[in-house]
Structures are given as structure tokens and as C-alpha cells.
Symmetry: C2
Subunit: 232 residues, 2 copies
DNA sequence: GCGACTAGTAGTACATTGTACGAGTCGATC
DNA sequence: GATCGACTCGTACAATGTACTACTAGTCGC
């Protein structure tokens, strides 16, 4: 935690180092390092190679810089992961629908977008559990919270509603991501399950994994949950 | 994947190597290595030191063996984690309640037990997303599935119900575990949130993190979800 | 012009990790 | 006694995160 661009030792405020310092010695090809570039490249790398694929060396390579240069912009690898995660969770506009029951649609849209966004970057689902709440996550929670509140959910019930929805979304996303994006993994899991169908007859009968209309199931469960919450 | 105790190269069936081979050269103190002992010790270590705390060397130390000896019983570290996770998720008896609406109580009991079990070993929640379904997890799903089916949920709706409940439990557990078991971490998060209360007014008002009746909130959300599912 | 300072880059070095390889030990069977 | 298979373990290596230190290039006051 030594020489950082924000020199105050206790308050590591993350303000962008708005500084033009054109082409350095590095033959002028690459633009200079910056937090944004680091995070964006980290996301690229994570998308391409998964969670294991991100190493500081590889990241530096892709940025055309030395490894240790990263550490001027970033505290450590955890930091990179935190930032990558939060950057992926940005929410672009709610596109408010009008009319009665609009809040129902609004909430569904927000949460489906949330899930979709995370599934687009499957590593994010694996990361979420162990990271703290970044600004974009909090932003999403705030928006959700406001929508529910506007829909008439009493303050006393707000937390339960919020957590229920959050839990549902996180659970669904994490689960889905855990079963692998690749069809290979999924079919392998299905096969393993089919092999033991005599031990788990009910599951086998319900074709738990074979039915891969995940999106539909997500939506249905969400509707159910929302209905339940609305009638409280 | 070379010399393993199950010699068939394609089917690595995990059968316990039931073999008595008393006190070896190792001064006769430690009992011989075995999968069970390895897994149990791994769980101990994980409980004590968390996910980062588990290294093959430390594990071997605790077992009083050489590091490489572990690799005769286990393919790799992933394997250890898989086994540790599943071992922690064993479900001891349902304690069937009688009477009408018994299934509701049964389900709540099963899921609360599930959550409680995982929170007793917080690393398990972090692990769950990236692991495949072990026998104990499947067993729990089977039981849940059977209970729901017995309660009259149609086969067509079974998957949605199952996933909804699963998602909810996993989400709640993962979230709770992610906020840290230690009060320090939690209060730190609360503080961070309070600092930015002007940006997230609704959340701040609802005292999202301050209200730490997690168990009650879990139960309430679960009831809501079950009600919704029952009225389908 | 000149020295001091700041922002930023990067090479080297090291401790820690998972695990491949191969040698060793012991009991049972021929 | 020779052989084999189950099991143990020391050595070695490559990969990783990062501390330390030295370097470069601009800016500012003189």
C-alpha cells in the first residue's frame, strides 16, 4: 500500500489520473496504462480464458506492459477482480414501462437483464459470492428497492422482498453458470445423472437437467415469487 | 491419472480400499492414510483456515504424511475440494412431521437444514458454484423432489418448483456467506454503505445490512415462495 | 539552464503453490 | 528367495503473486 497515485495513506480514493503523457519510450504503439484499460482488458481475458486464465503476467502481456507496472494502478489481483466484476454489472437504463402493474414488468426486466448480463460473463457468477458490493451492484439494488417501494411494498417488508429476489437471481445465475456454458459439460452431467437414475428416480423422471429451458424456468419462478410478494 | 488404486483406466470407480495394513514405518503413531481421513482432515482445515488455507502441503502435514502420498488416494486438489464439499452436505434424516400441510413444514425443515449446514462451513457456499453435483447434493434434490411430488405438484411444474427453491436456498446461502462470518467484515460493509447513503437512499432507509435477522428473512421469503408455488 | 520532485514503468528476485517423476518400503503369493 | 502390487515420499520444476529497487521522462521553481 505504498506509493500510490492517491497519496493519502488511509483514504485510497480512486480518482482517475487524468493526465496526458503521450507516447513513452515504449515505441509509442500502445496507449498508456490506465485503470480503465486494465479493467477492460481483464474482462476480455476473463471472457476468453475464464477465471483461471487471468494472471497478472498474461494481463500485462495483453496490455503490452511490464507486470509490475500494473501494480501502480491496482493494489493487487483481488482488486482487479473486484473491478472487473463491478464493471460487468453496470445497468443501462430501465426503460420504464407505463400502465398498471408496470412495476411487475419493470422488476422482471431488471432481474432478467441482471441474470443475462452475468451469464454473458460466466466468471462473474463464480466471483460474486466472495466479493463485496461494488457501486454497480448497489446501484442495481437501489433501483430494485425503489421500484418495489413505489409499488407499495411497506418498508417493513422491503428487506424480505429485496433479499428474496436477490437470492433468487443470484442462485439461478450461479447455478446456471456452474453447470457450464459449454454443452459438453452439461451433457456430461446429464449422463452421469442418467447412469444413476435408479438412485434418484424422481429427479430422473422430471428430467431435471435435460429440460434446458432455463430462461423459461427462471421467468416462471420469478413470476411466482413476485405474485407471492405482492399478496403480502 | 496413472497408477490408481482402481486400476481400470477409464472408469475410476471410487471404492474404498478396504485393506488392513497396520502401522507402517512412520513410528506407528498415525493411522494409515485413507480417503476418509484425507477428506475429514481437509474439512477440518477448511473450517479452520478457509478456502485459501487449504494447501496440499498443509493437509499432508496435518495428516502426518508426505505431500505426494495424498496423490495416491486423490487425483488432484480439485478432487479434494469436491469430496470435502459433498461430505459436508450429507443430510441426516427428514424427521417427517405428520398432519395436513406437513409437506410445507417438511420442505422448510429440509431447506433450513441445508442452509444451516452450509453456513456451518462457509467455504462450502463459495465452492458450490463451481463444482458438479455430488451424491449428497443429488440426494437432497431427490428428497425435495419427492416431497413436492407427494404434495401434489404436477410433474410438469416440478422442475420450476425445484429450481425455484434450489435457487433461493443457494442464493441466500451464498450471499450470506459472502458477507463474511466475522462481524468485523459485516460492520465494515455496513459502514461503507452508510458513507454513501446519499447515493443509495432507499437501501439505506431499509437498513439492508443492519437488520441482521437473516434467519427470519430467509424463513419469510421461503414461506412466500412456497405459498406461491402451492397456489399454482 | 538546473536541480528537485512527481508520475509512471519495469526487471529481478523470492516465497508459495500444485504436481510429475521415480525411487523406496512392506506384506502377500508363488 | 523372487516377484508383484499397494502404498509412501523426497526431489524437482514450472507457474504464480508481488516486494524491492532502479530507471525514465516530464513539470515546476529558480
Amino acid at each position: 500500500m505504498a506509493g500510490k497515485h492517491s497519496s493519502a495513506p488511509d483514504k485510497p480514493v480512486r480518482d482517475k489520473p487524468v493526465r496526458g503523457r503521450a507516447k513513452s519510450v515504449r515505441s509509442g504503439q500502445e496507449p498508456p496504462l490506465s485503470l480503465e484499460r486494465i479493467v477492460a482488458t481483464a474482462v476480455e481475458l476473463l471472457d476468453a480464458q475464464g477465471l483461471e486464465g487471468l494472471t497478472m503476467r498474461r494481463l500485462a502481456d495483453r496490455l503490452g506492459s511490464g507486470v509490475m507496472s500494473l501494480y501502480w494502478h491496482v493494489d493487487n489481483k483481488e482488486d482487479v477482480l473486484d473491478l472487473a466484476l463491478d464493471s460487468v454489472l453496470e445497468y443501462r437504463g430501465p426503460s420504464r414501462t407505463a400502465g398498471p402493474q408496470a412495476w411487475h414488468e419493470d422488476v422482471v426486466h431488471m432481474l432478467e437483464d441482471w441474470r443475462a448480463g452475468m451469464l454473458r460473463h460466466p466468471w462473474s457468477a463464480l466471483l460474486l459470492p466472495r466479493r463485496t458490493l461494488g457501486p454497480n451492484i448497489l446501484g442495481r439494488l437501489e433501483l430494485l428497492s425503489r421500484t418495489l417501494s413505489g409499488a407499495g411494498v411497506a418498508d417493513a417488508d422491503l428487506n424480505v422482498a429485496l433479499w428474496s429476489l436477490w437470492n433468487y437471481v443470484i442462485g439461478a445465475t450461479v447455478t446456471r453458470a456452474g453447470f457450464g456454458v459449454s454443452d459438453d459439460e452439461r451433457t456430461a452431467a446429464q449422463q452421469r445423472l442418467a447412469d444413476q437414475s435408479e438412485r434418484y428416480p424422481t429427479i430422473a423422471r422430471s428430467r431435471l437437467l435435460l429440460d434446458n429451458d432455463w430462461d423459461g424456468a427462471f421467468r416462471q419462478g420469478l413470476d411466482t415469487l413476485l405474485d407471492g410478494l405482492a399478496t403480502r
